[in-house]
């Protein structure tokens, strides 16, 4: 019985993704004549081949390669940037003593309460003033300050026993040596977990890229897809829309599934 409910659950959860995949292998005519067949159709090669060789340019003004490239760059940039700056600040807060140490921690912590959504307009103005509209820096920088990652690294660093640091200091290790030879190897699991979570976060961004990009060249694949369906009329090439949807969904799913072990552990631990 448990298996029955799980299979039903999995069908509900996986069906929308399966549906769009099936649709991406049929011709526009088949897609427009419901119900859609439940098995892949004969147009897969034509649809995907066409999408990658210029048909997306024709409707979206920008190539599929460029969209995938932009999105990957932003997702990886956000993930690596977050890991770098939050590890650095957690390291400073845990392994040093300096005035206003806790004030700095709280300053970072409170940003949890200021998501982009509640300060849309003034943040946009800052971006305009700094000339960051339609730039990769503008898409990445504001999103790499993350209280969650800093909190996780701080929590983890605090579990490092004092004796380890003492021993390293006796051996004459400075902050960099200690970080590189001892702390970094111990942090790898956490780094992997945060990388997955932040990669997904970066890939699925919507409001931010919508605000800070005007040119099609700077679109992420999610935004491009939204633009494709908002000009929906009788001639919308739905087969290409479906191909783009599949390509917008597949990379983050692969990352999550392949790195599942770290991802699940990291997710459940970071947020708790």
């Amino acid at each position: 019985m448990a298996h029955f409910w799980m299979i039903l659950g999995v069908i509900i959860v996986a069906f929308p993704v399966y549906y769009v995949f099936i649709a991406s292998t049929h011709s526009v005519q088949t897609i427009l004549r419901p119900p859609l067949p439940l098995l892949p159709g004969p147009e897969a090669a034509a649809n995907y081949g066409g999408a990658f060789s210029g048909e997306i340019d024709r409707i979206g003004g920008v190539s599929l390669w460029r969209l995938l490239g932009n999105t990957t760059l932003i997702a990886v940039g956000i993930a690596l940037g977050k890991i770098a700056i939050s590890m650095a600040s957690a390291y400073a807060i845990v392994f040093f003593r300096f005035p206003f140490r806790m004030a700095c921690f709280w300053l970072i912590f409170i940003t949890l309460m200021l998501p982009v959504e509640v300060r849309i307009q003034p943040t946009y103005k800052v971006m305009v003033d700094l000339g960051l509209i339609d730039t990769y820096a503008g898409l990445i920088l504001p999103l790499i300050a993350s209280a969650t990652a800093t909190l996780l690294f701080r929590q983890f660093f605090m579990t490092i026993p004092d004796e380890l640091l003492e021993a390293a200091r006796v051996d004459g290790a400075g902050p960099w040596r200690f970080f590189k030879d001892i702390l970094w190897p111990l942090s790898l699991t956490n780094v992997a977990a945060i990388f997955v979570i932040q990669f997904i976060y970066g890939w699925t961004q919507y409001l931010w890229p919508l605000l800070v990009t005007n040119s099609n060249e700077m679109n992420t694949i999610v935004i491009a897809l939204k633009k494709m369906i908002s000009f929906a009329d009788a001639d919308t090439p739905w087969n290409l829309v479906m191909v783009t949807s599949v390509l917008a969904i597949l990379p983050p799913i692969l990352v999550v599934v392949v790195m599942q072990r770290w991802f699940v552990k990291g997710l459940v631990e970071t947020e708790k």
Partner: protein, 293 residues
């Protein structure tokens, strides 16, 4: 408290500098601007602004459109949190009973986590599109006048379904972790005492899951309030009429499309107060949990 630390005085500031700089420029400065704008009113040309005190707030809070969007947000969030959590809990309980193949089901359950909210919305729109959606077609055959692009309630049902679908995986993972933390001996004891499975669930498992449930309730509310912007923007655009215009969508619409700065800023400040309340709530509760172990 750590006993051994490095003696450097300047290095920690260098390490903190990037994060602090980004935080100040992109978080604190705009947030402060939102507060400032919320008490000002600009003239129609945007050349000068005058201090108006709480007038913007009074105007926003007495605006029927705003009150409508409060109502929409409450309905939307309650439905999403309720369905996403109860479906996930049910599936997590089923998954716990399974001995072999648990990992296989988990792999298939976590997909939607990786799908962008806007795309989740589009997937559901494809399936339920009134003109060619394969699942809209049987609804029509049943004689239902299905058109979420014209009917407010149907539009709401569609965005709730998409938002719920996307959140099930997240809740599922947390409920599975929560269930695994419950000592098996308790359930065995209950079984020996002759308690039925259902009875044992409601009297033992569910109360012990309360911390997880409560945590997820806060997370799901925050998700429904803020992260679902993409779903609304991509699927309904707040319509038809204003049937799916949530608070965040309205802030965006007033600030960017209609360009009413003072109102938009006042709405931002109200949203900030909501997030701060929710986050404070969440952390108070986490403190307690740590206390009880």
């Amino acid at each position: 408290m750590r006993r051994t630390v490095f003696p450097h005085k300047v290095l920690p500031w260098l390490l903190l500098a990037p994060q602090l700089a980004i935080t100040l420029v992109f978080f604190y400065w705009p947030a402060a601007q939102a507060f400032r704008q919320s008490v000002l009113r600009e003239d129609p040309f945007g050349l000068s602004s005058t201090f108006v005190g709480l007038a913007n707030f009074r105007k926003v809070l007495s605006d029927p459109n705003y009150l409508n969007s409060v109502q929409v947000t409450v309905v939307f969030s309650l439905l999403v949190a309720f369905f996403a959590m109860s479906i996930a809990l049910f599936l997590a309980v089923q998954a716990e009973k399974i001995i072999r193949g648990k990992g296989f089901y988990r792999t298939l359950m976590i997909w939607p986590y990786a799908v962008a909210p806007a795309i989740a919305g589009m997937l559901w729109l494809f399936m339920f599109n009134p003109s060619f959606g394969s699942l809209a077609w049987p609804l029509r055959q049943l004689g239902i006048n299905w058109n979420p692009l014209l009917d407010g309630e149907q539009a709401m049902a569609l965005v709730v379904a998409a938002a719920t679908w996307k959140q099930i995986s997240y809740n599922f993972l947390f409920f599975v972790a929560g269930l695994q933390a419950i000592p098996k001996s308790l359930l065995e004891a209950a079984a020996i005492d002759g308690a039925s499975r259902r009875h044992a669930f409601w009297t033992i498992v569910f109360p012990l899951l309360a911390p997880t449930t409560f945590f997820l309730l806060v997370v799901n509310t925050v998700y429904a309030l803020f992260d679902t912007f993409g779903i609304i923007h991509a699927v309904t655009g707040g319509g038809p009429g204003k049937a799916t215009e949530t608070l965040v969508y309205k802030v965006y619409n007033d600030g960017f499309v209609n360009l009413i700065m003072g109102d938009s800023a006042a709405q931002s400040v109200i949203l900030m107060v909501i997030v701060i309340t929710l986050t404070a709530f969440q952390f108070r509760f986490i403190e307690k949990r740590v206390h009880y172990g």
